[in-house]
């Protein structure tokens, strides 16, 4: 724990994970709702695209992002900014890569919500704002939170995408998992071990939390409406 670079790296990793998670929450909740309860043309295609990172090698995703966000990429040419090898690039890559994890949680949470509850709430005079705040979120929050935590934990341990898009610049785009790899390459097993232990503890705590939330959720869902 003596390496100052490690703490910088850990801080950056947590920042990327946090920003990514917040974006996923904003993006994933409406998307999860739409996928759970709406039927529309091209839905299967949309689902396949957002779930693609589950099977796509991270380096492939990272490679395309690098092309997209790099110096001569379409984004740079159209909008005039380059996000590759920067914090923003890390976030974009992480959002895409962790989207399926968050989305699965949100979609399942919303799916298990009976639409009768929403419809009845409307006939009882509630507008959409009240329905979200007083019906949907209070019932589905454990599922939403567990999806969010999973996405956070997943971002924390990312490797391939952030390596391709970020380039592992120490103190700037190097994430903990890449740091560990670099230390092993440099035969610094002590430093690698310490960093690995930190990630292990954090990840375990997060997964444990998710399991706890799942139990909370299960205990409140059955016999809720019948």
């Amino acid at each position: 724990m003596t390496d100052p670079v490690f703490w910088q790296t850990l801080q950056l990793t947590l920042e990327v994970s946090l920003v990514t998670t917040l974006i996923l929450l904003l993006l994933g909740l409406p998307l999860g709702w739409v996928l759970a309860h709406k039927r529309f043309w091209g839905k299967r295609m949309l689902e396949s695209i957002v779930l693609l990172p589950l099977t796509l090698p991270p380096t492939v995703l990272g490679f395309y992002l690098l092309l997209l966000l790099g110096q001569n990429g379409p984004v740079a040419q159209t909008f005039g900014f380059t996000w590759a090898f920067r914090f923003e690039g890390l976030v974009v890559g992480s959002v895409l890569f962790s989207l399926p994890f968050a989305l699965n949680g949100y979609r399942e949470a919303f799916r298990s919500l009976e639409l009768d509850l929403i419809q009845t709430a409307r006939t009882l005079g509630a507008g959409w704002r009240r329905i979200w705040l007083e019906v949907i979120l209070p019932i589905t929050w454990p599922g939403i939170l567990s999806g969010t935590i999973l996405a956070f934990a997943h971002t924390l341990g990312e490797f391939g995408v952030v390596l391709m898009v970020g380039g592992s610049i120490p103190g700037k785009t190097q994430m903990v998992s890449i740091y560990i790899y670099d230390q092993v390459q440099a035969l610094q097993f002590g430093r690698a071990g310490e960093a690995a232990a930190v990630l292990l503890v954090i990840s375990f705590a997060l997964v444990y939390l998710v399991r706890t939330l799942e139990d909370v959720w299960r205990s409140r869902m059955p016999s809720s409406t019948r």
């Binding site: 009976e114 009768d116 509850l117 419809q119 009845t120 709430a121 409307r122 006939t123 009882l124 005079g125 509630a126 507008g127 009240r130 007083e134 019906v135 209070p138 019932i139 409140r220 869902m221 059955p222 016999s223 809720s224 409406t225 019948r226």
Partner: protein, 336 residues
């Protein structure tokens, strides 16, 4: 209250319906009963009156879906207070408790829905619907989530309370038990609304063969009109010539359907409509006995109280002569 609605999706339905007191919209599943309720509540797109064009949150209806849709995270009184959001907090609770008391379950106010039985959940949901101060109550299959064995006890009390409130109530149901207790019955089939009337009218004088089956006629045979004097008609059937109340549409020589309810096969002894048959397939149904009287190639289904079976000493294989009371026979058009 008159309800006139037209909807195209998920089922094509155009109907005009009279709602009078506790009105049951009787029909098999899939004919659009639930869709009609949802249309009136504004939950699916449709045109019609009343409340046409209003969003569901602005319609003064009390809507109760099949499984009651109580909010699982809210206590009973909080569920009831949900539509009272416009009131200050203290008033909300006291008013909610008032509605629960009206449904006879004030003592359950602090319970969560999962701590309530089906019947109790239904009362909470009704209290919540009443808190909306609806101009009409819409109940979707209110007896289907209840045990048949305790239905009478559980829903009977609710029914009495609902009727005393005098809010027009439209109930979608396929439950004959419920329809028999309604002030008004409207029968919906795939062909549309085929009959409206008091429950006695619909249950004893179904307009079509389909309605007859829906309201529990098990005995239906073909026949031909032999004679008619405007009050009584003579009908040639496989059971012989039977006397039945005349209908204004019949004419001599016409093919008709003749029906009688299972409960009304064994009635008073009379000299008319005597038929001779053999008792078969006796089986008890609670406190009643169901069986068949085989007359040539026709079987007559019958249902009678246990004590009557004992009185008549009915056993399988027994030969028996019964009289079909002419007043209880009902004529319907054959081409349905």
């Amino acid at each position: 209250m008159e309800i006139a609605y037209a909807l195209e999706h998920p089922i094509k339905l155009h109907l005009k319906l009279h709602v009078q007191g506790f009105t049951v919209l009787l029909g098999e599943s899939g004919v659009g009963k639930t869709s009609l309720l949802k249309a009136v509540a504004g939950l699916i797109s449709a045109t019609g009156q009343p409340f046409g064009g209003l969003r569901p949150e602005r319609r003064p209806v009390g809507y109760l879906p099949q499984h009651f849709a109580l909010f699982p995270h809210l206590r009973a009184w909080q569920n009831v207070a949900f539509p009272l959001a416009h009131l200050p907090a203290a008033q909300r609770k006291s008013k909610a408790l008032g509605y629960l008391a009206q449904m006879g379950i004030a003592e359950l106010a602090e319970r969560f829905p999962r701590q309530l039985s089906g019947g109790q959940q239904q009362r909470v949901a009704l209290a919540r619907a009443l808190a909306r101060e609806p101009q009409i109550l819409l109940l979707d299959e209110p007896t289907s989530a209840l045990d048949v064995a305790t239905r009478e006890e559980v829903f009977g009390g609710v029914l009495g309370r609902l009727k005393s409130l005098q809010i027009p109530t439209l109930v979608a149901s396929h439950d004959q038990w419920l329809a028999q207790r309604a002030d008004w019955v409207a029968v919906l089939t795939k062909a549309g609304l085929v009959q409206q009337g008091t429950s006695e009218e619909v249950f004893t004088r179904p307009a079509t063969l389909e309605v007859a089956r829906l309201v529990g006629f098990r005995n239906l045979w073909e026949g031909t009109v032999l004679a008619s004097d405007g009050v009584w008609a003579q009908i040639q059937t496989h059971l012989g010539v039977l006397k039945a109340p005349c209908q204004n549409w019949i004419s001599v020589g016409q093919s008709v359907m003749l029906g009688i309810r299972s409960e009304e096969v064994f009635t008073l002894d009379s000299a008319e409509n005597r038929i001779h048959g053999q008792v078969q397939h006796l089986r008890s149904q609670g406190l009643r006995v169901r069986g068949q009287l085989v007359v040539g190639d026709v079987t007559l289904d019958f249902l009678l109280p246990r004590y009557k079976q004992a009185q008549l000493k009915l056993t399988e294989g027994k030969s028996l002569e019964v009289a079909l009371e002419p007043r209880y026979l009902h004529l319907m058009a054959a081409n349905n």
